[in-house]
Symmetry: C2
Subunit: 483 residues, 2 copies
Amino acid sequence: MKDFEDNPLYKIMHPKSIAFWGASNNSMSMGSIQLANLLSMGFEGEVYPIHPRDKEINGLKAYSKISDVPKKIDLAILILPTGVVPGVLEECGLSGIDRAIIVSAGFSEKEGGEGKLLQKELVDIAKRYRMTFVGPNCIGVINPSFKLNTTFFPYDARPGFIGMASESGSFITQMFVHLAKFNLGFSQGLSLGNEAMVDLADCLEYLAHCPITKVIALYIEGIRKGRRFVEVARRVSKIKPIVAFYVGGSEAGGRAGLSHTGAMAGPDRLYEGIFRQCGIMRARSIEELFDFCYVLGSQPLPKGNRLGILTHSGGPGAAAADSAERSGLELAELTPLTAKALAPMVPNTASIKNPVDLTFAKNYSDYMAALPKILLKDENIDLLFMYCLMPHHRVMSVILGSGTDLIQATQFAEEFIKNQSAVTSLLASESGKPVVGGSFCDRTELFVRELQDHGMPVLPSPERAVSALGALYRYSRWLRIFS
Amino acid sequence: MKDFEDNPLYKIMHPKSIAFWGASNNSMSMGSIQLANLLSMGFEGEVYPIHPRDKEINGLKAYSKISDVPKKIDLAILILPTGVVPGVLEECGLSGIDRAIIVSAGFSEKEGGEGKLLQKELVDIAKRYRMTFVGPNCIGVINPSFKLNTTFFPYDARPGFIGMASESGSFITQMFVHLAKFNLGFSQGLSLGNEAMVDLADCLEYLAHCPITKVIALYIEGIRKGRRFVEVARRVSKIKPIVAFYVGGSEAGGRAGLSHTGAMAGPDRLYEGIFRQCGIMRARSIEELFDFCYVLGSQPLPKGNRLGILTHSGGPGAAAADSAERSGLELAELTPLTAKALAPMVPNTASIKNPVDLTFAKNYSDYMAALPKILLKDENIDLLFMYCLMPHHRVMSVILGSGTDLIQATQFAEEFIKNQSAVTSLLASESGKPVVGGSFCDRTELFVRELQDHGMPVLPSPERAVSALGALYRYSRWLRIFS
């Protein structure tokens, strides 16, 4: 914990008091929205709005200048027109504030040299006062378990285990809704903007020590200090997995990134090489970034690459097998013991090779308990993919078919699905092997909610689930070779 | 229409009367579930259950044998133990039934020669009586606008424009819930099983003439008659787009397919070549299959590959740009006229290069109407991607901020989002150019529902939206070269 609390980013992510520039009684300004958001998250520290005229903002006493604030301030948040930012930062320094988030844009990302000069001025001021700031041209940070959200988006996911550092603010804020689709959440999220001071490597150092961060997600448009990034990433990826989505590898993506945060992209091959030598798992899309984080942050490391596939539907089984090979996994050869144990439990249409394909889930209890139990015991299986489909309407119709009345059946179905999901996820976690589910159903179905909430990842397709297991295996292989 | 109605599959997909084997008073049997499903879809034709003992099944008079049924029957559905299937098929032939769906499994997909022999027997019987059957080892077919669903899954999507032929039944039935995520649906869906008679090429012929099918989806584990497939597919893809997901290209996927439906897979390169020469757009996953179908089935063909990107968030814009280049699109260079028109509408932090990045959506009306209108008029833009984000809570907070009370604000917000979405989708459809939205929000958000329901595709990420536009462009290029 000492390393964590001593990190310069710790105080930015855990401030006890905040001075806030840019909020006013115009509730529609960006700053006012961000302040409202900060308060609605239930932030428990003190907040001091600074405004030249308004005396009270969003129910808080406002101060006309920072020197009027009677308390010691941990963090300054600046959401101001570009030109006034250096002056205010200077005032912060004079008042002894040594941490800041500069949301304001118009610095090095702008064409022409003026923005760059202004940004250099910020850095000079910060150095003079030994300050550390995030930004400029960022959206802010989020630390859900600390009830801190300095962005302008309400955080509607739960506190989670993904620590993210992003060169795009949207890929922090707009992921809240994406993470909620899986009951995932951020442990810490940092939007870095132009990275005038704090950059990706700094965040890696910080997140490496964060006890609630199990996996680190990076969104990269361009790495600014290559050598340091490689040095830090190689070290950190031995502590916890890092997953990165890089968009600068194509010329179009690189150009877009340049005008976004002024980041200089590099050729795809160069970045591919950096990721490989650092043990960073590369994702090809934002969805894949979080798929990988979901599995790498929640599942134990596999001993090898031999995948077991359990399905009751041939197509999803074949798609999973195809995806396995494309992801560096091989299909496990089941032991004779497993084949013998499976034989009496499956219909004669079923395949007891791998994929184990039941062809039709007649008995959900077997499918969700007895069968994965047998497969997880098989010493030839290092990882397990389970195709999951236990829709409420099917369970209901089975129970109604046995003559139960509607009200009882509804209750039984719910209990049944909850029990089965709990059993499956317990089996998975007790096996010590990685187990990932795949289903085209989402959290509107009870079984998906229950499995996910019990800690078993369920992804929206067999291909995505198996591809994430592939990333987990590649990470484990890298660790074995380089640790 | 004549070609359509003359196709041998027409009567299977539009039966006026069905004889149904395998349903009984055991409501839990597969056959009983499929019959219940057929009835609950509201099938308007006549249904005659055939059962040796039960006199009434699911409220319908049952017959002990087909020769007792007093009416002419269009279609037989057989969900019976393997061994009795040939005998019943023979009875069908004797009774003048010339169309059948054989759901029963245990034929050529089984190891050992017996299943193959039994399957050959089915084909011999069918030929003797000039019958056409789908299967065996299939799940059945779906024709939602005809209220026909012979599968065991309730159809909870709407009738749509995607005609699908699948070597996996799951990738028909289990897609109902996937399609519903986008308010999409099948026009026709055929699960082909072992393809003893009806194969992928037959379905292509049929779907080519189906007036409500705008795009054809194929799930392929292995093509059985290569030459005929190529001949038909080349012809059909000039009439409407075909999108295929092939899982047999990896060794693991190929083996899984073999034990699933007995299909012989071929090397990935061979299939890649087949798809290329036929103008079939290849999808790399089930999700991508339907993403491509969504866009290819709903959007006009672009004149070129120059993509415009409209965003208010840099990260999604950069991800879209990166995806564009990887999908064969290039970023359009905006005309000076466009730049001039955009300049007064965007804040000074914004980029009016392409991606057009507003950096912050201050004014949703501009973003959803004025800006896309300008871009769609630009002669240098052939296709447009719009990053979409108009969450209800943000619109509400804007309206509440103007002093409106909660009840009125709720109503205003809903009207505003509906109006804006209608305007955007109208602009898109009137432009004659393909326009696709991308958003991490799903149909729980009103703006996503409204845009999609007005006919503008909205996919779950910028990368997926742009990748689908890339497929649309590649299809248009193929058409230009080969038609």
